[in-house]
Amino acid sequence: MELSITGTNAITYPVMHVWDWRVAIYLFLGGLSGGLMTMSAINYLRPGRKGPMQSVCCWQIPVMAPILLSIGLFFLWLDLERKLHGYLFYMTFKPLSPMSWGAWIVLVIYPLMILYALAALPDEVKARIKNGFVKNVADAVAPHLSKLAKLNVVFGVLLSIYTGILLSTFVARPLWNSAILPLLFLASGMSTGAAVMIIIAKNKEVKLFFTKLDIWLIFFELLVLALMFYGHYTADAAHRAAIMPFFNSSHDTFPYFLSIITIGILLPLAIVLKFLEVTGKHTEEVSGFGLFLMNTSAIFVLIGGAIIRFALVYAGQLSGYGYNMM
């Protein structure tokens, strides 16, 4: 049946579009900081690690995690229409609202992140801290680095997965309304976390470890992405319609089409580059070409992760039931 809608005014065809790039940036940075928490903690806890705990490279990563989360939350705050009313998130707790959960979870995650970052500071960095209180806290928590790292593995996963849970609970938006979306965001968050580890780490052994780990994470991310599309394709008409912008190169949906093409090129290419690096011959130091391969593939992963968030935030708002199915 042919269906057309005509109207005498614009309101007869409502288009909802309320969440924009600010929310996408928040979701990306939230996932990334969760990934950084988990990946840096794995770096401390992994069995093959060499040397004393605090001397292992990458103390910058635990410091970066709360900063990136704060930047993400700043963008989320920018998206609020009543910025001065933000405190109202903390005046109540709504057990059925994932947004309410998110607001409260942040209060648990920040102390964990900060204590972990302080505990992980090497002595030479700690010596440069002028604030006595911060220094004392850093000294006090240093012996508990292992416990804090374990907690950061768990809460990093929770933070990364939360960004997907938030969207997946919207029954009105079929593209998001899938239990596999949180897994996609988790995989993407962990993979981008590993990518930043690779870029920041100075130690070759750490770089290689996360390069190997990221190969598996990207494979998992691509698998989950493919499963999400397949799941939507085999679901009801609204879910099927929701993924169509990604497979339609017409003018209106071209950005979505382009996004899936870009992800389809960047992430497999990142796997190939990583594979070339980990299977190559290694000297004591990372060669210039090796460094190029690692950093390039890590940047591909970061761009891919950002594209996934942007494409899904925008395309999800186009999806719906009934006449406003895409």
Partner: protein, 185 residues
Amino acid sequence: MPRYAMVIDQSRCIGCMACVVACKRENDVPPENYRTRVLEIVQGTYPTLTTEMRSELCNHCDNAPCVSICPTGASHHEEDGTVQIDRKKCVGCKACITSCPYNVRYINEEHGYADKCSFCQHRLREGKKPACVATCVGGSRIFGDLDDPESEVSKILRRVGHRVLKKEVGTGPNIYYINQYPKRA
């Protein structure tokens, strides 16, 4: 307590948009926003076409996603079953707008809070009907109490086949649509 619902008789709608204008006037709705709208939907293949006039507004759902998603409790159910917004509690996060399958919420740009049809709550308190119902020249919009078996909406829904929009989403809407109801007094 009453349990308010609206029945929309599509066969009586002439698409005059008086309901849209009355709603905007009654509720001071900003020029760029609407709490109700009338869709003119043409379906079929030429020359066998049908036209549907469909009034849409907040469905005051029993299982309202906007209420469950709201992180501050601004969107809430009143005892009369209607979904209302406590403007003081709204932070303008727009989650309710995104969560509504019917796309009937908007942000009041001047004040920043989310807004939508309230079934003209202030008029109900005075014993009046919502502005769109009071002004509907074709008698297309019928409003009443579902808990009162003698109310017009209860009688109609008992006697006439009806539907709700996007039933598959499972929100339990309280706006009912009927067609061909010529014998109403």
